[in-house]
């Protein structure tokens, strides 16, 4: 972390003390301040009492479902929430994202993976707060204010729908956006189940923005859930510090 900025505060909600312990160590080593909560009720209390920059919630809590924690916190706060989920539960992931979670990490996960997601979410929150209009993803720069898309400083021509798709993704740059959300934003709510529209448009968009459309690195797929603009955690920090990149 840059010394000029205050340390971000992260609230870790998990009933397993071993998980909390390694998360605390991992975050503290990377310059975060950590609060812990072992139950959902404790988490909600903690989130109301103290200023918090980010919440990490495990889905299996002893007193309530993790999704309830997400829903309750989201009812008054826009703090970024990252959910710890298990594999093979795509429908549940979609549900959590619709409830307002910003992203998810599948258990078991490496610290680097989680840190990357955390940085992306913090960066997004900061950009939203500061009104920063440009989003950079690798060679791609999207200026949301003037509606321009530049690839390696060359201006791209996109159709209105293609731009709208990229715009929604850029607004959540780095975070996953569900199929339903994209379809609703671009085609309207009657088309939320027409995933094939999305597939065809994403393919066309990739032809324009990806250096290698057959192995996309910018507009990446989260199978069964949605898409994300692959802003790496290091990039989100403007290359300030990248000690543990792509470990897992």
């Amino acid at each position: 972390m840059q010394m000029s900025e205050p340390s971000p505060i992260v609230l870790v909600v998990d009933d397993e003390i071993q998980i909390r312990r390694f998360l605390r160590t991992g975050f503290e080593l990377n310059g975060f301040v950590v609060h812990e909560a072992g139950t959902g009720a404790e988490a909600i209390r903690s989130a109301t009492l103290r200023p918090i920059d980010l919440v990490i919630v495990d889905l299996g809590l002893p007193d309530m479902d993790g999704s309830e924690v997400v829903e309750r916190i989201r009812s008054w706060s826009s703090v970024p929430i990252i959910v710890l989920s298990v594999r093979s539960t795509e429908a549940q992931k979609v549900h959590l994202l619709e409830l307002g979670a910003d992203d998810y990490v599948v258990k078991p996960f490496g610290m680097a993976e989680l840190l990357a997601r955390v940085r992306v979410s913090l960066r997004r929150q900061m950009r939203a707060a500061s009104g920063e209009p440009t989003v950079k993803v690798g060679p791609l720069t999207i200026d949301l204010a003037v509606r321009s898309v530049m690839l390696n400083d060359k201006r791209l021509t996109l159709t209105p729908k293609e731009y709208r798709l990229l715009q929604v993704l850029a607004q959540h740059a780095g975070n996953v956006v569900t199929h339903q959300h994209l379809l609703k934003e671009v085609w309207g709510s009657i088309h939320v189940h027409d995933t094939h529209y999305l597939r065809i448009f994403v393919r066309k968009l990739r032809q324009k923005i990806e250096p290698h459309p057959d192995s996309p690195k910018i507009l990446v797929t989260e199978l069964g859930v949605g898409y994300r603009l692959a802003q790496s955690g290091a990039e989100a920090e403007n290359g300030a510090e990248a000690p543990a990149k792509s470990e897992s």
Partner: protein, 517 residues
Amino acid sequence: MLNALKFDRIRKELRGILLTLCMVAAVTAVVYLIIIETGLGHGSVVYLIPVVIAATRWGIVPAIIAAICGVLASAFFFYPPLYSFRIKDPHEVLNLMLFVFVAVVVSQLATRLKRQLEVSRQREIDLRDLYAFSRRLAVAFDVSDIHAAIEDHLATVMQRNVALFAGVRDASASSGRRAGVMVPEQVLAEVVQAASGRHVANSGVTVPADSGDVWLVRAVSPKSSEFGVIVINLGHASQESSDEMRIRVDAVLADATATLERLGVAHAIGEARMRSQTDQLREALIGSVSHELRTPLASILGAATVLSAAPALANEKKLKALVHDVRDEAERLNNDIQNLLDASRISSDGLKPHMEWADPTDIVNSAIERCRQRMSDRRVALNLPADLPLIHVDPVLVQQALVQIFDNAVKYSPSGSQITVAARARDGRMILSVSDQGAGMTAAEQIKIWDRFARGERLASTTSGSGLGLWIANAFIAANGGAINAVSEGPGLGTAMTIELPVTHAAVTQIESDADE
């Protein structure tokens, strides 16, 4: 309904009587003609013909009526004074009385003969059904086959609606509709009683339903509860006909259970049930053990990644290597546990694919992404045409199958070799292929690899794994309506695995979505 039944029987009876009268009239006419033509004496004995026919066909009442009509006709037409019922000669009176006596005896004999014939014919049908039943039992595959056989057998023999309940749980879980038979609730309640062994009477109980039908509920066999409880709709039967029916049910069930016992079916059912319980137990155990193992693994793996990036270890090469070992081994363990979980998911509740339109390119890329670390020292060559059709599949299942195939390719090929991933559409199928330059397979191995817990024995000492991978991949692809094939030119010549998935042409809605604002 009851009246209709009675009416039906009366109508049958009347029809018999009417036909009898016709026969008597015909005989009278013939005899009359003969007497006029030839002048022969009178022929009351001839009236025995309609009597015997009526007795064998319609029973004793029409036979007696035939006899009486015969006497009256003889008196009227043949005995002087003619065309009057009076008879002059006392000899003739004696003759007629004798005729009546013979007619009654003959008709009684004929009726009895008729009943015996019917019984033996029924017996023959029953025996034939019983034979068909035992033949079906002989090829029965599992408990439900046997129950279905019992049910069908009773339905055939009784010509009634029959339903069989395997046990208390079966009866209480059932919504009342069985094998196309609506079983009323009162009857179901009685079935639960019977299945839990609370019936004292072996011959079962009758339950009147709201619809007016009477149902018989009884255990198939009084000796063994394995055969379940049978319910039979006796229809709108009166007390005596329902008793008759119950006697018949007893006889049929006695035959059926004797057959079942002779074949040792009870024992077989018990054994099969025990086996399936053991299976269930094993699956439950695998499921819970894997879950219990996964939670601490998440801590181990997470902690190891924190340690490996810790500044304190930055200059400790040896310690760092140890931490990497912990992380890698934990990851491997996690994969094995995931495989066990997948396997138990496949065999316990079956897979429920979540179908959606997916781009094959996305599936392949995300599978490669998942295996990035494992494939880091292999050259991965991609061959994905830009115009691949969309496929309607569960993309996550297909991706997981691909991951298993990649895993296999890495496991059985040397470091530095190439793995080629290609996709193409052909003849309405999407074909994804993964070719390695590895150990290949013998012809025998190509057959065996799809088995559960199959491992390449040639290389078992140098590779690790549970042998579940390809079995899981196969199940995942099958759940998507596809198929997996493995081809190898031989040992040492590499392996090509292909996944074939159906391409539905509803995906060609391109024109519609092309309409861009």
